[in-house]
Amino acid sequence: MAGYIIKRIAAMVPTLLLTSFLIFIIIELPPGDYFESYLAELRASGELIDSAKIEFLRTEYGFDKPFLHRYWLWLTGMLHGDFGYSFEHERPVSELIGSRLFFTILLSFLTIIFTWIVAFPIAIYSATHKYSWGDYGLTFLGLLGIATPNFLLALVMMYAANVVFGVSIGGLMDPQFIGQPMSVEKFLSIGAHLVIPVIVIGTAGTAAMIRRIRANLLDELNKQYVVTARAKGVPPFRGLVKYPLRMSLNFFIADIGGILPAVISGAEVIAIVLSLETTGPLLIRALKTQDMYLAGSFLMLLAVLTVIGVLISDLLLAVLDPRIRLEGKALK
């Protein structure tokens, strides 16, 4: 098992290298660089241009060097924790992201938990009561959840919260706590503000997950080993949880790798609508202004998360499913 883990971690290295290269190409692909768009903006608004500063930054960050050289600088920098400099915000990228990253991860984590808590019981009910009114009703709700665009749901809920409950739910916390040290009140305020984003971001994922767990469970329910379990006197609920549900978990675990980036990138649009201080709005702005180090670091972060997610799900699968663990061993 230890050898397997080491091999899997070693296999991550070439994957990440390749991804970083692709990301760099994509960032460089649009003509021009940040300074050009910056200059254009300044000229358009008729402001003064500090060309000396711009020239300094250009040389400092190697914009006059060839492509591969710049890639190399970026890559080695990241290994030291230097993610480059955000030209727009005039701060190092690590500083910029760091403060927001915590909220992004918190929001994503809560969303995933919400998705699981809601999806599992509903899916199990749907599968065991196939073609009942309950199944049809929940299926309808689920499809509604998939079909409704997230931002629309966010706007509707924001409006409802404001009109019905008289609370403003934009932002990550009430304005008076911004910049304050963490306190019980601040914590509660953050909690209250996270409820709606979690529901909004989680809805589509939950609905999709219900459909998939239901389909997988239905497949398993007809398997011979379920009949075997019944024939030896296993009570229905235990027979359901121990055998078919456990089998249908495989796909679910395999999904973890995909969930992390999907939740984080899916949350960005919502973050703008609900004006959440997470990483989402920052990334979108960075991509628009060709703030390349900021955007690149973000994309790289997503890639790392994806690879880690896949690693976690692979390791979990190996732990949970003896067929994967024992593959290749000689049969007795």
């Binding site: 075997t228 024939a231 030896k232 006197g233 121990k242 003896p322 593959e327």
Partner: protein, 619 residues
Amino acid sequence: MTDLLTVEKLRIDIRTHGRSLPVVKDVSFRIPPGKTVAIVGESGSGKTVMARSLLGILPNVASITGGSIWFRDPLTPDAPLDIAAPDLDEKRLHALRGGRISMIFQEPMSSFSPLHTIGNQIHEAWALHNEGSHAEGREIAEETLALVGFADPRRGYDSYPMEFSGGMLQRAMIAMAVVCSPALLIADEPTTALDVVVQAQVLALLKSLQERLGMALLLITHDLGVVANMADEVVVVYRGSIMEAGSRDAIFNQPRHPYLKALLGAVPKLGPDGDRKLRPLREIEPVDAAGSSRETGRRHLRKGKPLLTVSNLVKTYATKKGGGMFGAHKAVATAVDRISFRIVGGECFGIVGESGCGKSSLIRTVTRAISADAGQITFHDEDGDIDVLSLRDGDLKDFRTRMQMVFQDPFGSLSPRLTILNTLVEPLEIHGIGTPKSRRDRAAELMRLVGLPPNYLNRYPHSFSGGQRQRVGIARALALEPDILICDEAVSALDVSVQAQILNLLKHLQKELGLTIIFISHNLAVVNYIADRIAVMRAGRIVELAPRRQMFTEAAHPYTRRLLSAIPTTDLGAPLDLDALGNTDMSDPADWPQTADGPDANWIEISDGHFVRPDGLPS
């Protein structure tokens, strides 16, 4: 003595698309304690539904609509329980299942959850019905594993199902069923998925356990040979009704009901006179096909002349062992190990072997479906010999018309999206033979050839039964007028009566069309019925090759003898010697007597046309 179980006027319906369909109609039978009752019937006769109703584990669409199932537990003789009662407490059923009545199934591979150890699943069966510590449960589970023949029950307990062969898993399944010493064991086709030698071992195990634990056995099977060797009483069902019931001797010696008589007449027999014509329940009427084409005359001319020579054919597969993306090292499995034989025109060459012996690999290599590693295949055409293995592109495509295959699964081998007409003209279109009109005529002719009305041509496969589909498969194989027809387990998936139909049809076609047939099967009785010469395969080699008669009267190789002794027959005078079928089964070449020449020695001809590997000869 009171009966353990009495079924009275049991009726079971299946609801589909809002309609109720009776699948079990007023069935009554009984199971005396400690005895074996066999329910015999073809597929779709309702026997499995009947068995599952005894445990109250019917599928959701099925329900009991009448009758009773009285179970008199010998532990509580004064309180009989009606399992069919609609108001029965589910809790009492749970206690019954696995505790007093247990069940084993056809597919040992899928009957266990692949995610839990075998020990865990057996232990669970015990823990559900007994109080006791975990250690005690484990001990009992291991004891039971030892009882069913696990050499190392401790390791067996901690192993996963994927680590065992089907035979061992069925033993583990039996261990799970008997761990609570039930009064009744229901075995639903327990050996159908197993090879014949393993089948004999599992049957022997069931019988010895039955004596040891004093339990009754309800055996559900379609195999009359198994019934003749196991049952005390027999119940014959047909379409959900009982046709005939009685003691085994009465059933086999004086069958009265025409269905039973027909069923017995349709079973191929072992022994030298096993080629006596079978009488299927419903005969099919193939049209007299002689003279239907020029090819037929050509084929008849070549009767008795060598047609195909295979020499020293080798096929290996690389299997990946050891995991990881960097550490994979290759291992080689030899599926076909230096096989040589010759086939003459007009004969039926039978190849017999258990699963995994390499018979399918051999055939796929011969037909160039997969590539060979070494050896030579020569097709003796009228215009000279063809080196089959060196054929390329166009030549290979042309050559493919000379050999055609019929496959095992009549459902999987026909595309559900093509009509029968499409299916039959496709080979002609691929090879550019004829015009659309002539192809259509040819399809109609092929239908008549296999005894199907040509007006079925526009139907889709789903409207045909398994036997009819298999006939379509044969018609498709004949479309290109092949010299050699290869039947790979072509009747294995069919019921006895349909099997007899198809076998008779093949025999008829062979005679009328002058076809040469290579017939592959795991069932020696079937091969015995149709083949002129029989080759027995094991571990990628042909261990014995002989004319049909000699194979039964003078079998020389220990593996052949073992195979012959393991086949259950309907002849009550020749029961299986279950005690002699111990655990060594001569399946492993290492069990065979060693010779001075080693395993690479050539065949020895011991009488005219009867070849055997030297390790099979008495020294």
